[in-house]
Amino acid sequence: MTDSNARLERRYRRLLSLYPRTYREHHGEDMLGVLMTDADHGEHRSRLSAALDLMRGAVLVHTRYWWEMRTAADKGRLAVRHPLFVIRLRLAVALWLCLVTALLCARGDWWGLAILLFVAAHLILAGRTARRYRSR
């Protein structure tokens, strides 16, 4: 291998390091083979466009992997698998917190009103789960 080829290969390896690790481990050597074969045949100008294309590919792959991970994580969430259970649980917790607030206020502990913030949060989240459940 000539010096310039070794330099080019190092540059391509640096660009490949922009990709997710699992992708790089699977396709890295294969891609390097294609890139070097292409470099042997192509003119100098095509190397720049190959480098730009590698960067574009890295963005595409990262985006797709991130999106798939998000979708997979979403499927595993309790609110997606058992929405009715989650809605009822949130309503029950909200009701219970209201009771606690009422008891505290009856004793003259007015700071208990701060608990209503949590009640509101539970109701909002229950509403969101219900909307997603209905739109399925």
């Binding site: 050597e29 891609m31 292409d38 190959a50 590698l54 798939e68």
Partner: protein, 106 residues
């Protein structure tokens, strides 16, 4: 389906090929109009494999470099056939309308 995807699947419909083989074949199929680059090609291959449209056929070491060959799966053949049929219908419509309009003043 994007044109690059269609051309990659078409290249593999002729039999298993490795990365550089696909690039050369796509260039020939498209009459030198489309020259895939490594970044685009492998991003597409990775996605197509995840979607179950292609699979690894075999691996070879040539000049101390790995060459992975890909082939179409049956789902891949079906998807390509469907897309080809869809494009074909569009082409037929376009051609018949052009014929109909021939002789009409513009």
């Amino acid at each position: 389906m994007q044109e690059a995807t269609f051309l990659i699947l078409t290249a593999l419909a002729g039999g298993a090929q490795h990365g550089y083989g696909i690039i050369a074949d796509v260039e020939e199929i498209s009459e030198r109009r489309v020259r895939l680059r490594a970044g685009t090609l492998y991003a597409a291959l990775d996605r197509l494999r995840d979607d179950g449209l292609i699979e690894v056929d075999r691996e070879e070491i040539v000049d101390s470099r790995l060459r992975r060959y890909y082939r179409l799966t049956s789902a891949g053949s079906a998807t390509l056939a469907e897309e080809a049929e869809r494009l074909n219908a569009h082409v037929r419509t376009a051609l018949s309308r052009l014929q109909l309009n021939e002789g009409m003043p513009a």
